[in-house]
């Protein structure tokens, strides 16, 4: 059934329309004035001011590889993150650790580890899935480049962003 929405009955003052216009002008002028006097709080001026200091602990920025206290790349090239990554941003080429090495027990290390930052959606699945606590989402968010190649973070870059992670489980160390 069609419903007829009744029009509100306007008083002659409302029908004159001018008082409403003046009231509107007053409102906009108030905003203009407050802005001129610097009373209005406005947006952060981004490149000069940044909110880095107030980023929350759980912020999900660029994924990065980390080293442990011994300086070893924690990744064992199990390729779980490569498998889970929804946009398939990760590409890993595993390599073998020679038996003479101190960490020969680990067997594998990533020879190449690329994350295509054009593809990455900062979902944090890689961090979640990693059995080695080797990949973390850091707080870098301004990831830019002029070419596509520049946007692919290779192993060095990832380690540079990641740095050393302290206080994580060190399961590959020799038992004391």
């Amino acid at each position: 059934m069609a419903v007829t929405v009744p029009r509100p009955r306007l008083t002659w003052r409302e029908r004159l329309y001018l008082p409403a216009i003046v009231a509107g002008l007053a409102i906009t002028f108030k905003h203009f004035k407050n802005m001129l006097l610097g009373r209005t709080k406005v947006t952060m001026q981004y490149p000069e001011q940044k909110w880095d200091s107030s980023l929350p602990e759980h912020y999900r920025g660029a994924p990065a590889l980390v080293r442990d206290e011994d300086g070893r790349v924690r990744c064992v090239a199990c390729q779980l993150c490569e498998f889970i990554c929804p946009p398939r941003a990760i590409k890993i080429l595993p390599g073998e650790i020679p038996s003479t090495d101190r960490f020969a027990k680990v067997e594998k290390y990533p020879e190449q580890f690329d994350i295509d930052m054009i593809r990455c959606i900062f979902c944090g699945m890689c961090e979640e899935v990693c059995p080695e606590q080797a990949i973390y989402l850091r707080k870098d968010y301004a990831i830019t480049g002029f070419t596509r190649a520049e946007m692919v973070h290779d192993k060095e870059k990832l380690l540079e962003i990641g740095g050393v992670m302290h206080g994580v489980v060190l399961k590959w160390n020799e038992k004391k």
Binding site: L25, I27, T28, H31, F32, N34, M35, V42, T43
Partner: protein, 355 residues
């Protein structure tokens, strides 16, 4: 028609066009963006140069470097012609507006014709061709609707525009814009007659129809220059940009230029008709020294700027009208108000002392 006249005229034309109108247009665009931002609690363009003051230059380069795209289905000749048609009238109109008293004895008006205000209306009414043809030649639905809307809108509001200024000319006695200014110098601005025998109560009674006339004229001017709340030809939300949807690069810039130039000339006409033109109480005219001539010009453009700022203020305050509301407003209210206003002035006129 001696060479002195020709040279000074050329100087005035070049000066007004390239030193005043074109820079003014670009900075009015900048001001519009800043004012709108301030009203909406934003900052607006503040990056290019100090406080963003070089933004217009960056804009020009951006527009020049953009791809100039012509839709395949468009009617190419008219598609190219239309933006030019949109700019020309707006700029030509300024020719009859006196923008200053005299400078070194040269009157500061390009063409002091005896049909001044009619000239303004006639040329302004040609401005609709740019929009209509642009909308039609684009061969696309939204621009076409914009063009249709604009032709109907301009025709309707030209009536109230013309009728609303008749009281002014009933007082002045001829259509020359310089005489309008002269009259206001001797008798006070039409909006606020503080000069001359300003204690005469009849003159104050006269300001009532004058203010009505001013309001109607200004509102009709909004409609003529396609400014919000009457920007139906380009209503972004309904028509995706209206008549210039299909335009890009410099052709779009020309439309933009035309719109803002029309706004500037419109403000100049308003200032001339109702706010005493280049006159400011206490400041003598250019015959007392060239410095006063310059001050007169400065006063005029200051007033124009204030009116333009008011235009912007309105734009960022009011929502757009619906199309039928627009038509009803034009034909049923402003037209009648302007008409009654003429009779009102005619009734008061006999009591006004002659010069």
């Amino acid at each position: 028609m001696d060479s002195f006249f020709i040279i000074t005229s050329l100087l005035k034309i070049v000066g007004i066009l390239f030193v005043v109108i074109l820079p003014m247009v670009s900075y009015v665009v900048y001001a519009e963006r800043r004012v709108s931002a301030f009203i909406q609690d934003r900052l607006g363009p503040n990056r290019v140069g100090p406080a963003g003051l070089f933004q217009p230059i960056a804009d020009i380069f951006k527009l020049l470097l953009k791809e100039d795209f012509t839709p395949r289905a468009a009617n190419t000749f008219y598609y190219w012609l239309a933006p030019c048609l949109a700019v020309m009238p707006a700029i030509i109109t300024i020719a009859v507006v006196p923008f200053g008293s005299t400078l070194f004895g040269v009157p500061m008006v390009i063409a002091d014709v005896n049909v001044g205000i009619l000239f303004v209306f006639a040329i302004a009414s040609l401005g609709v061709y740019g929009i209509v043809i642009g909308g039609w030649a684009s061969n696309s639905k939204y621009p076409f609707l914009g063009g249709i809307r604009s032709s109907a809108q301009m025709l309707s509001y030209e009536l109230s525009l013309g009728l609303s200024v008749i009281p002014v000319f009933m007082l002045v006695g001829n259509l020359r814009l310089t005489s309008v200014v002269r009259y206001q110098i001797e008798h006070g601005w039409f909006i606020a007659p503080f000069v001359g025998d300003w204690i005469n109560p009849w003159k104050w009674l006269l300001t009532i129809p004058m203010i009505v006339s001013f309001l109607v004229f200004m509102i009709a001017m909004f409609a003529e220059t396609n400014r919000l709340p009457f920007d139906l030809p380009e209503a972004e939300q309904e028509l995706a940009g209206g008549y210039h949807t299909e335009y890009s690069s410099m052709k779009f810039a020309l439309y933009f230029l035309g719109e803002y130039a029309a706004m500037i000339t419109g403000s100049a006409v308003i200032v001339t008709l109702f706010f005493g033109g280049w006159h400011f109480p206490g400041i003598p005219d250019g015959s007392h020294g060239w410095i006063f001539g310059l001050i007169n010009i400065a006063v005029f453009f200051t007033k124009v700027t204030i009116v333009i700022l008011f235009f912007m203020w309105i734009r960022w305050t009011l929502p757009r009208f619906r199309y039928d509301q627009l038509m009803r407003l034009g034909w049923l209210f402003f037209f009648e108000i302007a008409l009654v206003n003429i009779f009102l002035v005619a009734a008061i006129l006999p009591y006004i002392p002659k010069v």
